[in-house]
Amino acid sequence: MARVLRLPLSREDVQDLKVGEEVLLSGPALTMRDASLKRYETILNEGKQLPVDLKGELIFHAGPTPAARGRPCGSIGPTTTARMDRFLSWMLESGVVAVLGKGPRGTGHAGLHGRHGAVYFAAVGGLGALYAGMVEEIELMAWEDLGPEAIYRVELKDFPAIVAIDSRGEDMYVSLYTDYRKRG
């Protein structure tokens, strides 16, 4: 049975989640990916005014399609989290509690999650149409010029994911394939 989690989450809320556990996420999250993270990083380093505060947020690495008429949201889904590893340190220092994306992170990044008590939820890539039905609202928050890479506030509804890195820094992907591996 998947554990139902109500967003926003605090670091206490995610403390007892364990790697491999299935969750259903409901509530507000922010989309950020390559371009918006890079711009955010630049402004952060310059010490200038930031458009959104990341404290207590779940950051969904996603870039949706435009919503067609009569739909709350277009196709949406996780993009490759490993590409965002380079931003992880300041994201967690800014108070991000959870990240939602797909695929394994690069070596060493699970430890960062552990140090900050933040989790990484992995979902399945390539299910944009299906996941569209699990996003009830979407609102542009900043940087429209980035198109799909702008920051959006999304309201998730029973969005399924797996705890891939828990708050102790345990990484599901480290030993995930050994059970099924048949090659030396």
Binding site: G77, G103, P104, A129, G133, Y177, R181
Partner: protein, 280 residues
């Protein structure tokens, strides 16, 4: 002399772009269903179920299969005695732009790639390749490939003596390193031979051949089976969550090459293989 109107090719390409963005090809659906039977991981089977459900939701609601509607590559192959009249490049570009707005496709192309990365806003320009064949008819193919699986694709210039063993080892190693983040179960397009620039194109075009169509070269056909078997021993599984089905098909295309070379390219495609070929 047969004359193809560039504007008519544009209309055709526009409808192909729209169709492939929302419709998972029948051969891919069949392959996913068939491989699902071999999956021993419950989570893996669940992922394949979700992929098939996603395809139904996408087709029914005319929604993009994946939010990454990809980069469009258009391959026009002209048969003998055939000419194109009009501004082919302009018409194809307009076709992609129209399809992107009509189909609510994501704008995923940026210009000045190493600096401003300004989004072009309509998925232009597409990749356009015009080829020639000695055949009677002409064909146009469109493939839309996502950025994640494109990132996972690789080229290697092997030593000529490496043979099929070298080819398979290379591809398996690429999938081992990159497969989990490129949306498995994968379809592998493999280009063997040609030149440094030709092998990746062969690899991508190899993805156009339906999964239920055998390779006309019996040796390459066996290698495709061997490759699928070898990759599925990696244990990466559907969604990269561990399992027996990491790959549901490999398509090999070959070309003659220089005596000193054995170029090999693998174009890794996610489970959402979006492509179509039409004879004109």
């Amino acid at each position: 002399m047969k004359v193809l109107e560039a504007s008519r090719l544009g209309s055709l390409v526009e409808s192909m772009c729209l169709e492939i963005s929302t419709t998972l090809p029948e051969d891919v659906v069949l392959a996913l269903s068939a491989f699902s039977e071999r999956e021993s991981s419950l989570r893996g089977r669940k992922v394949i179920e979700m992929i098939l459900e996603n395809a139904v939701v996408a087709a029914r609601g005319k929604l993009p299969i994946c939010q990454d509607t990809g980069v469009f590559s258009i391959y026009l192959t002209l048969g003998r005695d055939t000419a194109v009249q009009g501004d082919l490049s302009g018409e194809l570009e307009k076709a992609v732009s129209r399809a992107s707005s009509e189909g609510f496709l994501r704008s995923s192309i940026v210009r000045s790639p190493a600096s401003s990365r300004m989004n072009t806003g309509d998925n232009t320009p597409p990749v356009i390749k015009v080829g020639i064949s000695g055949g009677e008819s002409s064909t146009v193919s469109v493939i839309a490939k996502g950025g994640g699986s494109e990132n996972a694709s690789r080229l290697s210039m092997l030593h000529p003596g490496a043979g099929w063993e070298g080819v398979i080892d290379f591809v398996v190693k690429v999938v081992e390193d990159q497969g989990a983040k490129s949306c498995p179960p994968l379809i592998l397009g493999v280009g063997v031979g040609g030149s440094f620039d030709c092998a990746p194109e062969l690899a991508k075009k190899a993805l156009l051949r339906p999964l239920n169509e055998k390779n006309p070269d019996p040796e390459a056909d066996r290698m495709e089976e061997e490759l699928v078997k070898a990759v599925n021993e990696l244990g990466i599984g559907p969604g990269g969550f561990g399992g027996d089905v990491t790959c549901i098909g490999a398509r090999i295309a070959q070309a003659p090459c220089h005596v000193a070379n054995l170029p090999v390219a693998v174009s890794i495609n996610c489970h959402a293989l979006r492509r179509k070929t039409v004879s004109i």
